[in-house]
């Protein structure tokens, strides 16, 4: 059914260096969220904190009434059974073939017979299009296949929360499009809570229900997709439209001189908001909203050309 993740006032630093502070957000149950941010803003650290691999310095993460930040090791291992995580490189166990990798959580945590395990594993392998590659070792397949295998393993215990660490890095555009479709279809099918960490703006613009943006050691904005895509906030606008003009520079934020030089420069108009990706069977997801509904409710006029079928996905200028 999906589980809500409630993050309150979370801060994390390594040594004296603050990674991000005062992050407060609620990932709604059953919805797809994307966490964006320039490279090096601690998106992966955020993800690892959510699953308790890293301890935050301050704040709480409440999942089903348990605070991940302070609970005991034993509770942590219990609560982690709710999670499915797709790591950046798939994180497959190098010594096992794909079949054993995907079967691993089932064999460790359930008392299913080998034939039941086989049915479930083959179902998940079919889902990610890896039937026929079960006997391969992770070292023998491409990065894209490893990623898909990692997804199969993440899904095998029917998780309530699925976390994706850059599912689209190192994948070609076609595979990325297929993977995005798969994410939407999966959400329609299992109703779990999805959180995707990425910096692919195409994914961010079309897949999620909600978008968050981490920037300059804090959470710049978190809210419904249409809110961020129609936002005039400089950082959000620059990032979601892949522009050079704005507060984000090549290395973290720009200095005062650079910003002053940009003063008065005409900002390119906001590109139209694309349609959200729909499940391939055409049946709307539980958490899916009518296109443009947020804009209507909040009295915001979306950029011209928004929500039109077959509109161009090209962003930037």
């Amino acid at each position: 059914m999906g589980v809500e993740i409630k993050v309150d006032d979370l801060s994390k630093s390594f040594g004296k260096q603050l990674i991000w502070g005062d992050v407060t957000l609620t990932v709604p149950a059953g919805e797809i969220c994307v966490m964006l941010g320039p490279s090096g803003t601690g998106k992966s650290v955020f993800l690892k904190t959510l699953i308790g691999l890293l301890k935050p310095d301050k704040g709480s993460i409440i999942i089903e009434g348990t605070d991940i930040a302070t609970c005991s090791e034993k509770d942590l291992y219990e609560i982690r059974k709710l999670f499915g995580v797709l790591f950046q490189d798939g994180a497959m166990f190098g010594s096992m073939n794909l079949y054993d990798n995907v079967a691993f959580p089932l064999r460790e945590h359930t008392k299913k017979s080998e034939s039941e395990v086989r049915d479930i594993v083959m179902e998940k392998m079919d889902l990610v299009g890896l039937v026929g590659a079960e006997d391969k070792l992770p070292g023998e397949i491409s990065g894209g296949m490893r990623k898909r295998a990692g997804l199969a393993r993440a899904l095998v215990l029917d998780p309530e929360i699925v976390l994706f660490d850059e599912p689209d890095s190192g994948l070609d555009p076609v595979r990325t499009a297929f993977l995005n479709q798969l994410i939407v279809d999966l959400n329609a099918q299992i109703d779990a809570t999805f959180l995707i960490v990425t910096h692919d703006i195409n994914t961010a613009r079309t897949v999620p229900d909600n978008i968050g943006l981490l920037y300059h050691r804090h959470l710049a904005m978190f809210g419904p997709r249409e809110m961020l895509l129609s936002s005039e906030e400089p950082v959000v606008r620059q990032f979601l439209n892949a522009q050079r003009v704005g507060p984000i520079g090549m290395s973290e934020e720009k200095d005062a001189d650079e910003l002053a030089a940009e003063e008065g420069q005409e900002l390119p108009p906001l590109p139209p908001i694309p349609m959200q990706l729909e499940p391939s069977n055409g049946i709307a997801r539980r958490s899916q909203r009518e296109p443009g509904s947020w804009c209507r409710e909040n009295g915001i006029t979306p950029p011209p050309g928004s929500f039109e079928e077959n509109m161009s996905m090209v962003t930037g200028s």
Binding site: V85, F93, P105, H109
Partner: protein
């Protein structure tokens, strides 16, 4: 300024503390079910296969050197009849456990550190924790037990090979009398010497595996980090071994009175 100096001086204490805490975690996970029998057998077989031959090859010259050194010295005292006894004492109490531990650390420990380090940087360990499985229980405990088991048996092998090596050198090269060499075994040596040797081997095996696992699981910074972890684990293990060996030997000599011929 003062705090920076303090941090610098206290850093090694922190590392030692973390290593100790890790060892305690391993000790606690030791009793958690289910026991990973398969992993344990695989690891024991692997460690044995990489250590048996080098250990045997090291044991022969070890026994020989002791026989030559002690043999030469003892002859000057005119106490040749005790050569066998001295050789047995030295090999069983000191050379056996140390040679075993050095090879366990060098061959087995480095493999463990490299294996766990590679898993660490490929995020396999993270993935395992996220799947709700404790890597200490699943991976480290079987390795520690495997190292201890193999060290225990290797120690026996080193004792036998070392003493026979000593015998060959003493009898053939130094013209010792075969009968006197064997007959003097029990003159100075006693059964507790064997027990302390085996106990040492167990403890050294444990130290080698715990340090290697700790270093491997905390490898950071990509492939270079794994190399560093392996390197550090071997060096730290060697240093610890000699310190612990000294403490154990001193304690043993206090507790068990040496047998007087």
């Amino acid at each position: 300024m003062a705090s920076i100096t303090a941090t610098r001086f206290l850093a090694p204490v922190g590392t030692a503390g973390k290593l100790f805490a890790f060892a305690l975690d391993v000790g606690r996970a030791l009793f958690r079910r289910p026991f990973q029998l398969r992993e344990f057998l695989q690891q024991a077989w692997f460690i044995a296969s990489v250590t048996i031959i080098p250990t045997a090859l090291v044991a022969i010259p070890f026994g020989a050197v002791i026989a030559l050194q002690v043999g030469g010295l003892i002859r000057q005292f005119g106490a040749q009849s005790f050569t066998g006894s001295a050789s047995v004492l030295a090999v069983i109490q000191q050379a056996g456990p140390i040679a075993t531990a050095l090879l366990i650390a060098g061959a087995g420990g480095s493999a463990i550190a490299a294996d766990l380090g590679a898993r660490r940087i490929r995020e396999e360990l993270d993935a395992m924790m996220v799947l709700g499985i404790d890597p200490i229980q699943r991976l480290v405990v079987p390795r520690v037990l495997a190292c201890m088991l193999v060290a225990f048996f290797l120690n026996g092998m080193v004792s036998v090979v070392g003493v026979s090596g000593g015998y060959v050198f003493n009898v053939i090269l130094q013209d010792g009398t075969p009968g006197a060499y064997i007959a003097s075994f029990t003159a100075l040596a006693q059964l507790p010497d064997l027990w302390i040797g085996l106990l040492k081997a167990l403890i050294f095996g444990m130290i080698a595996a715990v340090v290697a696992a700790y270093k491997g699981m905390n490898a950071a910074g990509g492939p270079k980090g794994v190399g560093d972890a392996v390197n550090e684990s071997v060096v730290i293990t060697f240093l610890l071994l000699f310190v612990v060996n000294f403490v154990l030997s001193a304690l043993y000599l206090q507790i068990v009175p040496p047998k007087t011929g």
